[in-house]
């Protein structure tokens, strides 16, 4: 958005600015170094006597041969994993050594989410809720990352991170209340299904516009840093959303403003029907991190321990060093994009089946537990039954509940209700008095 015409004067200003900045830098360098161990390179002090580039925009040597930098997309950033597809720990030094109780909790939260997904997906097919998005194949990314956070850490999500809420103990009743938009919904029935939010669980309410949460997370992390309260912020998004301008904004702001923030990208191969080779031509999302001066890693998103380890370490360092981290979790979107999408129109059933049957975060963790004698067929059967019962109870309860009062259409637009909105609300009620038989008033709270 730069206006032309500014450059000449800026150039003149620039010379003075550089000298001032150099002096300032010399004074602040030790503290900054301590702050950011291996962060962005600081520029050299201004010194005309050296035969080195003096450009303020980068710290680099001259070269006397013409050579373009090649992107490395054939052999990309490696995928960190802790256990094999059979649930075996590959490198014992990377084993997070989580207790049986913790691992069982991981498994139960992942499978409970899976059960809820199946029931709500079916309920949409039957027209009982208007819309749904499943989390199939990505359960491991949610639970592994959520477990590595403090419960005070603020979460910004996209829409396919219900497992984070599940891990934090969001009640099934409230998941259902949101999808049914009934009178128990904390969001007062205003948003589409799966747009969850919880103040108590520090999970910022989901909105549909993609990537808008990314620079917001940077701002929240900046505020959290100023509070000095040992908190971090995590921000989830898909690889498709990473193409939005807001992703660029958020990455760059969090690096230059030194925000304790974890960017967590779920790279599941598709943005609705668009495969990644139509989304980007670089080495995925992780390769972009270093370009912003951001520490980055790629993990196996179907390996809950790999996700856990990466998030745990990123969180520790983000808070200690006030700098952002980027985690790209490689997964596969096993389900349709949403209930409004039939993914067989753009990808093969074989491809989907591979990920569902051969490389699934839930089955991998189950292998791990079985090998340790922490889980068996009986327990599996019992838990399946029990989790199904829990979900069905919440489901039936949510379905029976009335919708919120129609009045709630007018509140919270502003903190206070404005005179104009008061008039419009009164006008609606007068209208409903006269034409009530044309409206579904009996479904709503009085």
């Amino acid at each position: 958005m730069a206006a032309a015409g500014g450059f000449g004067a800026l150039g003149r200003l620039g010379r003075h600015a550089v000298r001032r900045a150099a002096a300032l830098r010399a004074a602040t360098q030790p503290r900054l170094r301590a702050f950011r161990v291996s962060g962005a390179q600081l520029q050299q002090p201004f010194n005309t006597s050296e035969e080195k580039p003096q450009f303020p925009g980068a710290s680099a040597e001259f070269v006397d041969q013409l050579e373009f930098i090649q992107p490395n997309v054939i052999s990309g950033i490696p995928v960190y994993r802790v256990m094999s597809r059979q649930g075996q720990i590959i490198n014992p030094s990377e084993d997070p050594q989580l207790s049986k109780e913790t691992v069982l909790n991981f498994y139960q939260k992942m499978t409970l989410l899976n059960t809820m997904d199946r029931i709500l997906y079916e309920s949409q097919r039957q027209g009982r809720i208007s819309f749904y998005m499943t989390n199939y194949g990505e359960e491991g990314t949610h639970i592994g990352s959520a477990a590595a956070l403090d419960s005070n850490d603020l979460v910004f999500g996209q829409y396919r991170e219900a497992g984070v809420l599940m891990y934090r103990g969001f009640p099934l009743d409230l998941f259902m209340a949101q999808c049914y938009a009934n009178a128990d919904d904390l969001g007062k029935g205003r948003q589409m299904p799966v747009h969850y939010g919880s103040k108590d669980l520090n999970f910022v309410t989901i909105s549909s516009p993609l990537a808008t949460q990314i620079p917001q997370a940077a701002g929240a992390a900046y505020a959290v840093k100023r509070e000095n309260s040992n908190r971090a912020v995590i921000c989830y998004f898909g690889e498709g959303a990473a193409s939005e301008g807001d992703a660029h904004a958020g990455f760059n702001f969090s690096a230059t403003l030194e925000c304790p923030l974890i960017f967590f990208c779920r790279n599941n191969g598709y943005a609705i029907s668009t495969p990644t080779n139509e989304q980007y031509r670089g080495d995925g999302i992780a390769a972009r991190g270093p370009g912003y001066g951001m520490l980055s890693i790629r993990v196996d998103g179907n390996d809950v321990f790999a996700v856990y380890n990466a998030t745990k370490e990123a969180r520790r360092r983000a808070v200690a060093e006030n700098q952002p981290f980027l985690i790209e979790a490689m997964t596969y979107r096993i389900g349709h994009h949403s209930t409004s999408d039939d993914s067989s129109a753009y990808r093969s059933v074989d491809e989907v089946n591979y990920w569902d049957k051969q490389d699934h975060p839930i089955s991998r963790l189950r292998h791990y537990m079985t090998a340790r004698g922490w889980w068996d067929e009986d327990e599996e059967r019992t838990w399946r039954k029990q989790s199904r019962k829990l979900v069905m109870e919440a489901f039936e309860k949510a379905e029976r509940r009335l919708k919120p009062r129609p009045d709630l259409l007018f509140t919270d637009v502003y903190n206070e209700i404005t005179p104009t909105l008061t008039k419009q609300r009164d006008s609606m009620w007068r209208h409903l008095q006269q034409y009530k038989e044309h409206y579904p008033l009996d479904l709503y709270d009085k």
Binding site: R226, T256, V413
Partner: protein, 393 residues
């Protein structure tokens, strides 16, 4: 962004001498010398007329109820409001492009030195990032004061403002909000700002429930209204008429004070015609009221709307019930401009009192032009003519 352009714009709003001083003070390089030479050569009536402002600023009476006052222009009164805020609210932060060294319009001069670089800081050059970042700061509970360098460059942040900031509280059922966010942006024509340093985008945002949009006409109004925006529990956009940054000077209270939002102010009482405007255009209308009195014997009631959204219907309608005639004027293009909303509403509420069609004197439905600015703006002669036709209707 357009740092240098900003200085040229500022230099031109008032006298030739001031323009020279600005050029000297800022650069002193070869460009500065050239400018100085050009200024020295400019003489005679052509140059004078070219730089004549289209309005005359009239200070309000010195406010007495808020304690001691100091002579300030509009940019200084903005700084004063920001200073008061940073002093009283430890969570408050100010950020945007080039705010750290004082801002291209000098609104943040001295604040970084006084309050620290973690509270007054530059961001990367990215408007959607600035507003998204500000929303995040506010969601986390801190006070965020974001600057967009020119209102013309607010559109990259339109999505964050309209889909996010405005809807945060509503969509979350009041679990989360960004009510602590204020976005400030220089606004309005400036003499030769052309397409992208002149715009008045308030009507784009007036169609968006959840936002407050506020525009002051003077240093006192700017400080009182900005402090209200910052304190308000809703996301606010505060547009600062940049032509007034240096041109408008009056006594402003040094202590914090608030002027309520969503309240229009009757600046002049009258009985024959109601004039409604905001920002710089209030000063144009004040001259129109004088001309109408002197040349036509017509008594005009002048209202400064101050808050565009949610706007003060009652004050405007009450006035029109009394006068029976309404002229609304704004710099922005007429089609879809905010005058259309005012006009439609007044027509609904005051149908039996209206004695002439409601008149709108606005910018034409073109982009804001460079060399044609004198013909584009709804100046006092266009407004005066509208009053004359309305009286003779």
């Amino acid at each position: 962004m357009a740092a240098a352009a900003a200085r040229f714009l500022l230099g031109s709003v008032h006298s030739r001498a001031a323009a020279t001083a600005v050029a000297l003070g800022t650069h002193g390089g070869p460009g500065g010398a050239l400018l100085k030479g050009a200024a020295a050569r400019r003489s005679g009536r052509a140059a004078q007329r070219r730089y004549a402002a289209h309005f005359t600023f009239q200070p309000d009476p010195v406010p007495t109820k808020y304690g001691p006052t100091q002579k300030m222009n509009l940019f200084q009164s903005v700084t004063s409001a920001l200073d008061n805020t940073l002093a009283s609210d430890p969570t408050a932060v100010i950020f945007g492009e080039d705010v750290a060294f004082g801002g291209v319009f000098r609104c943040t001069v001295g604040l970084r030195d006084k309050y620290g670089k973690d509270r007054v800081f530059n961001t990367p050059l990215c408007e959607q990032g600035i507003v998204g970042f500000g929303i995040g700061v506010a969601v986390a509970g801190a006070t965020a004061i974001a600057e967009i360098q020119f209102a013309d460059y607010i559109y990259p942040a339109f999505d964050q403002i309209v889909n996010e900031a405005a809807k945060y509280r509503y969509r979350s059922g009041n679990l989360f909000d960004c009510g602590n966010l204020t976005i400030r942006a220089p606004w309005g024509c400036v003499g030769h700002g052309s397409l992208y340093h002149s715009q008045s985008p308030e009507a784009f945002f007036a169609h968006c429930p959840g936002l407050k949009i506020v525009i002051p006409r003077s240093p006192v109004q700017a400080k009182g209204l900005l402090l209200s925006c910052i304190a308000d529990k809703n996301p606010c956009i505060f547009f600062e008429p940049k032509i007034l940054y240096r041109a408008a000077v009056e006594q402003v209270p040094t202590e914090p004070f608030h002027i309520p939002l969503s309240q229009a102010e009757v600046v002049l009482e009258g009985s024959d015609v109601t004039l409604v405007a905001w920002g710089t255009q209030v000063h144009v209308m004040r001259e129109v009221a004088t001309m109408a009195q002197e040349k036509l014997g017509v008594s005009c009631e002048l209202i400064d709307l101050q808050t565009i959204l949610p706007w003060d219907t009652d004050t405007v309608c009450k006035s029109v019930v009394k006068t029976g005639r309404l002229l609304i004027s704004h710099e922005a293009p007429v089609t879809g401009g905010f005058a259309a909303e005012i006009s439609a509403r007044v027509q609904e509420e005051c149908f039996l009192n209206l004695e002439a069609p409601i008149a709108r004197v606005c910018g034409y439905d073109t982009p804001f032009p460079h060399i044609f600015e004198p013909f584009y703006i709804p100046d006092k002669w266009k407004c005066f003519d509208a009053v004359k036709r309305m009286i003779n209707y």
